[in-house]
């Protein structure tokens, strides 16, 4: 009992510490630095401690200090309670989704079965999308509570974009569910041990549509019509400053990690290495004893999983700094007229193929 509790607590601290403590602040730096390198610039490199800049990594700390010490401004006529509540609603679901995201398989360590997921829900995939769509309320309430026309317009755009792309997203994962026959994220991950059974080969169209829909869900360029600096000032968070603004910002970056993790689990073989099964690695590590080999295998799988997640974060950043923003009508057209019929056709074809194989 105590042992299980300890293991769960360690897992919780690991995943929360990694997302909130490492990914969220470092991704602000990565975003600036990667865009700079892409555009032949130098990028953030000014913040220093005793003349030591560490490639500008201290900008993350400097940003955090700035966010903490800035005035927390609430505009006149705004609903003070909802104005404070909405960033919390936006950021909590983004962190919460990691409760069901597995970052490794199951391992036998000293007689204990360690399952590298905080909560192995039977409806894990459904849970992720249910929780992630709650964040939309945060954005809509933010626009409403700000007493600002641009904010309200931004939040209305958020709501319509979410509704449009949630449909595609839901229909896309149905294809994945049909292939793997499970809603447990751990089982979907475990089913992809063979390289040719990765979701990438099973559902190529599904991968493309899921990526497009999830970037639209995260409201990043090219789907950033809700924020659209040149049209709506900054969209729903125009009237936010200080730590509240920082929470919206953090929610966006944590959602990026979430998208990376979900795409990795559903389509890119979760923690598995191509052409290298766990049994092969275990046979190589035979000299460490059963427990030691399992422990090293676990660490390797965690590293592989996060390497894949980091690759997808890089991919999203590259898209964000390559493509221009879609017009609002183009977003709606893409969502309803192209992605929705394609995802329905994807389900049909997947069903026919499964039927033919059986």
């Amino acid at each position: 009992m105590i042992l299980e509790l300890t293991i769960t607590l360690v897992k919780i601290f690991f995943i929360i510490g990694l997302t909130v403590g490492f990914f969220a602040p470092v991704l602000t730096w990565v975003e600036r630095k990667q865009s700079a390198i892409m555009q032949d610039r130098v990028g953030a490199n000014r913040a220093d401690i005793m003349g030591f800049t560490a490639l500008g990594l201290f900008h993350a700390i400097a940003d955090a200090i700035k966010m903490f010490t800035k005035e927390d401004f609430v505009p006149q006529g705004a609903n003070r309670f909802l104005h404070t509540l909405s960033p919390i609603i936006a950021v909590i679901p983004a962190i919460l989704t990691f409760a069901v995201v597995p970052f490794g398989g199951q391992y036998e360590l000293w007689g204990t079965n360690v399952n590298l997921v905080i909560s192995d829900l039977d409806v894990g995939l459904l849970f992720v999308f249910a929780i992630a769509s709650i964040a939309t309320y945060g954005y809509v309430i933010a626009g409403w509570a700000s007493n600002n026309n641009w904010s309200l317009l931004g939040s209305m755009r958020t709501a319509s974009q979410m509704i449009s792309y949630e449909v595609t997203m839901g229909l896309t994962i149905i294809g994945v569910l049909m292939v793997y026959g499970s809603m447990k994220l751990t089982e979907i991950g475990a089913a992809q041990e063979d390289f040719l059974s990765w979701g990438f080969f099973m559902q190529p169209l599904g991968l493309f549509m899921f990526l497009a829909a999830s970037i639209a869900e995260n409201k990043r360029i090219p789907f950033d019509a809700p924020e659209a600096e040149s049209e709506l000032v900054a969209g729903y968070f125009t009237e936010y400053s200080g730590l509240k603004f920082g929470m919206f910002f953090m929610a966006e970056f944590i959602e990026m990690v979430t998208i990376g993790a979900i795409v990795t689990i559903l389509f890119f073989g979760a923690w598995h290495i191509p052409f290298l099964s766990a049994a092969t690695i275990l046979s190589w590590l035979d000299f460490l004893g059963a427990n030691g080999a399992n422990l090293v295998l676990m660490l390797i799988h965690i590293a592989v999983f996060f390497a894949k997640v980091i690759f997808f974060i890089w991919f999203q950043m590259t898209i964000r700094w390559t493509l221009p923003r879609f017009r609002y009508d183009q977003i709606m057209k893409l969502g309803w007229k192209i992605l929705l019929p394609l995802s329905l056709a994807n389900i049909l074809v997947t069903g026919l193929v499964i039927l033919a194989i059986q």
Binding site: Q34, I37, M38, D40, R41, T322
Partner: protein, 189 residues
Amino acid sequence: MAYFVDRTVKMTWWERSYLPAIIKGMYITSRHFFINLFGFVPFFLGQKKEREIFTLYYPEEMAPIPVAYRGRPVLAINENNLPNCVACGLCEAACPAYCIDIIPGENSGKQNEVERWPKEFTIDYAVCIFCGNCEEACPEEAIFMSDDYEIPMLDRKEMKFNLEQLSVPIEKLKDRVEFTRKMYGKWNY
């Protein structure tokens, strides 16, 4: 470099799906990303760098400024440590922004070799438009546009520079003097 884009081109459905354009764009940006990220490796192996980053670290590094650049106007001090200016007022008249203010004084014999000298010479950089007309109007090679552009101040009153603040030894302005002689033909006056 003017070129025309043919907008009547017929696209295939594959091209209209935006995918090839997106892939091409992603290829270009990631090529720049990886060349810049690992561009220093061939440099260490003794080869030429693929691409240099043009960014200057501004307060520490300054871009070389061409001689034709018009920075803040300054007064030239000749070899005898006296201003070349004779307080004729031509620059004051030529100034379209009325930022130059001269109070001439009678020569008592030690200030200059000619009759008049500027008792006070004020340029208000908050008003100056850096047109260079004063330099062109000056018959005595006394006022020049320098290469100094760092004149932001916290107070507008401080932007009025007096004679001492404006003075710059003529050795520092040699290139500009040559340039103005060539440009404005002052040699023939």
